[in-house]
């Protein structure tokens, strides 16, 4: 989540920005000089066509601005929809006959190309928004806890403690040098995997990785750094999930949908509460769904 906030608006890199500006430029041209645009695409210029071109221009401006300011995939999908609409309009013009066939064909080809680019980019952006890139989910979170690095390290190193603050974990048990992890996916589906520790430097870092053949290949790395000014320990957590290639299993997909960087931050906050106050801090509203002394907390507020 944090890395997204820092990423330039308009999505991943230059192409995103380019599409936004292109949309804006094209839109402005269509609004200012609808006649020229009509002629360019090979149609005959008349007042009705100019109005249509102006309307399309306005749409391009809105979509361009929307995408440039918010950088959200839905603006690109809006563009794809617009491209399809434009293509339909072009084909109607072609059928009507009073147009230059060559230019129309060229304009149509360009539209198809742009539409494909928009769709590709929208899909890529949509995936990025969910932290998934090429089927991989990379997540990170940090928190500062008022105690020594050794204390947090020891608490974490005992993996059985993890389900006390990591919401998607049901249980972790140490087993002959390895550990067995159970995760809870919605609808009562359970996933399990075995993991081994790959790096273990007391008071500094722990890294682990699921063993070959796991239902959900994943690995994690947690670093403990002394905070400046004697303010305790900075805990830096990085998790990577690598869903099995091809189609995700239903359980894996459901579990991954439940995991986000926001949740991971919440998990680390619970770790801080456990270490600093001895317990996970709860209000009635944060644990009950029905009526209770603080009354129901529904919808997005019931996030765990």
């Amino acid at each position: 989540m944090q890395s997204q906030a820092l990423a330039p608006r308009g999505g991943s890199g230059r192409t995103g920005g380019l599409i936004g500006w292109l949309s804006l430029g094209l839109g402005l041209t269509q609004v200012v000089a609808p006649g020229a645009v009509t002629r360019l695409i090979g149609a005959r210029d008349n007042e009705r066509r100019r109005t249509i071109v102006r309307a399309i221009g306005l749409r391009e401006i809105v979509v361009g601005l929307g995408f440039l300011t918010q950088g959200h995939a839905r603006w690109l999908w809006a563009r794809v929809l617009g491209d399809a609409l434009d293509l339909a309009l072009l084909s109607r013009t072609a059928v009507s006959g009073n147009a230059k066939a060559g230019r129309l064909a060229l304009a149509s080809a360009a539209l198809v190309g742009v539409g494909w680019l928009d769709a590709q980019h929208a899909r890529e952006l949509g995936r990025e928004r969910h932290g998934v890139s090429q089927g991989r989910l990379d997540l990170g979170a940090v928190v500062t806890i008022s105690c020594s690095c050794d204390e947090v390290y020891s608490f974490w190193r005992d993996f059985q403690n993890l389900p006390r603050f990591i919401s998607y974990l049901e249980a972790v048990r140490a087993q002959n040098g390895h550990s067995r992890w159970w995760a809870r996916a919605p609808a009562g589906i359970e996933l399990k995997w075995d993991a081994e520790i790959t790096v273990d430097r007391p008071g500094e870092v722990i890294a682990w990785q699921s063993l070959h053949g796991s239902e959900l290949p994943n690995r994690g790395l947690v670093r403990f750094k002394p905070a400046p000014g004697g303010r305790g320990t900075e805990v830096h957590l990085a998790l990577t999930f690598e869903p099995p290639g091809g189609r995700l299993g239903v359980a894996v997909a459901r579990l991954l949908a439940k995991i986000s960087e926001q949740k991971l931050y919440n998990d680390l906050r619970r770790l801080k509460q456990l270490i600093e106050t001895g317990d996970v801090v709860r209000s009635d509203a944060s644990i009950h769904r029905g009526p209770h002394p603080a009354r129901p907390s529904r919808g997005p507020l019931a996030q765990r």
Binding site: T144, S146, R231, G232, Q262, Y265, N266, R269, K272, Q273, E276, T277, G278, D279, V281, R282, S283, D284, A285, S286, I287, P291, H292, P293, A294, R295, P296, S297, R298, L301, Q303
Partner: protein, 391 residues
């Protein structure tokens, strides 16, 4: 049990709700004897605070008797009479260790919502939206008090509920407002808003040695109380005179040495700016109307301090940053770190130096909470502060 629940703009009613239970070894359950309606409850009542849900139990100023304690609560026992501070604080995080209890890093289970709005989360509060924890409030017969080993203050039997109840919020809040002003002997302090917090800010400013304290409001009986009971040396009724001009008149053109904004997000004023702010607030261009704050910044003397203790929730427009920078003004603000002030202020009350109960004008049974809210919001029957008797 019975509890006063929020159901939307200007809709509260006393309902039967489940009794609270201990959720942690550090919890206590308090049977409420007295609970007050706070000016900041009116922001909830007026529907200006996000993440409220229908049925939420209101109230963050309360006191009562301990009826149950968790195994880790060793400082309290069943039967103790306690006042409970409105911020919930763990006592062990970095903020609590620095006595910044309203910034407790652990007490808000919904910290992520507050972070979305404010960048970081402050402490959880009783009965004050889900963004601030979703804790059930104290306008009820019973309350679950988390971190009962840190917050509740035992009060001596010889002091009445009304004398000590306001230690839960508004007395320390007014006091912290005056403290943030860094008052020196001879100072002139102006206080915007003669509501209950404003009254106690006036009284506190006098306690810190301000030579003159000017109360600003437009409600006659409140200004009368500020002058008659709180200790204001002067009052300005903004219905009758221009605040800036009157302040210049009263301070020889220097402006007050310190200004306290005890008004917050729902300020009233005269002139076009008021209409503009109301309109902006109505269409969500700004969440808060900073009319008192703008006046305070404009009036404050060069190099002076403005302390904000009135509640603001979100965003404001037309903020006079130029005046702050070019005239070396200091802005201080905060939700009160109540735990820090309760004990010393209790001692002052016990010594008879001050009796903050002068602000209380109405006493009602808890079952009449809705009427209390309406009276306080509409300023009916010269209402200044409503106390609800829960037992």
């Amino acid at each position: 049990m019975k509890a006063n629940c929020w159901y939307g703009k200007e809709k509260v009613r006393v309902e039967e709700v489940p009794d609270p239970a201990l959720l942690s070894a550090r919890d206590a359950i308090v049977r409420v004897t007295s609970t007050a309606i706070c000016g900041s409850d009116l922001h909830l009542y007026n529907g200006l605070v996000p993440t409220m849900e229908k049925g939420d139990v209101l109230g963050h100023e309360f006191m009562g008797e301990v009826v149950e304690v968790g195994s880790a609560v060793v400082n309290l026992k069943v039967g103790d009479r306690v006042v409970v501070p409105f911020p919930i604080a763990c006592g062990s995080c970095a903020a609590c260790q620095q006595d910044e209890f309203s910034l407790c890093e652990n007490s808000n289970p919904n910290a992520w919502i507050a972070e979305k709005m404010w960048g970081h989360s402050p402490a959880g509060l009783f009965g004050y939206s889900h963004m601030l924890g979703g804790y059930a409030g104290g306008q009820a017969e019973y309350v679950r008090v988390p971190f009962a080993d840190v917050g509740p203050l035992k009060v001596p039997a010889e002091l009445s509920d009304e004398q000590v109840l306001l230690l839960s919020d508004i007395f320390p809040t007014g006091y912290m407002g005056a403290e943030m002003c860094g008052i020196q002997p001879g100072d002139v302090v102006a206080v915007w808003g003669a509501g209950p917090v404003g009254q106690l800010a006036v009284a506190s400013a006098r306690m810190f040695g301000a030579e003159r304290v000017i109360a600003i409001d437009h409600i006659g009986y409140r200004l009368k109380m500020a002058q008659g009971s709180a200790g204001a040396t002067d009052v300005i009724d903004y219905d009758e005179s221009d605040v800036h001009q009157a302040l210049m008149e009263l301070t020889g053109g220097r402006g007050p040495d310190a200004c306290i904004d005890a008004v917050g997000m729902e300020a009233h004023a005269h002139g076009p700016m008021y209409a503009i702010d109301r309109a902006k607030q109505a269409v969500m261009f700004e969440t808060d109307r900073p009319l008192a704050l703008r006046q305070a910044i404009r009036a404050c003397k060069n190099g002076g301090t403005i302390a904000i203790i009135g509640v603001y929730g979100g965003f404001i427009d037309t903020f006079p940053i130029g005046a702050i920078v070019n005239r070396s003004l200091t802005i201080r603000a905060g939700q009160c770190h109540v735990h820090r002030y309760m004990r010393p202020l209790l001692e002052r009350i016990a010594r008879g130096e001050i009796d903050p109960s002068f602000v209380i004008t109405h006493r009602l049974p808890l079952s009449d909470a809705a009427q209390g809210y309406e009276m306080f919001a509409q300023k009916l029957d010269d209402c200044e502060k409503v106390v609800l008797k829960a037992a």
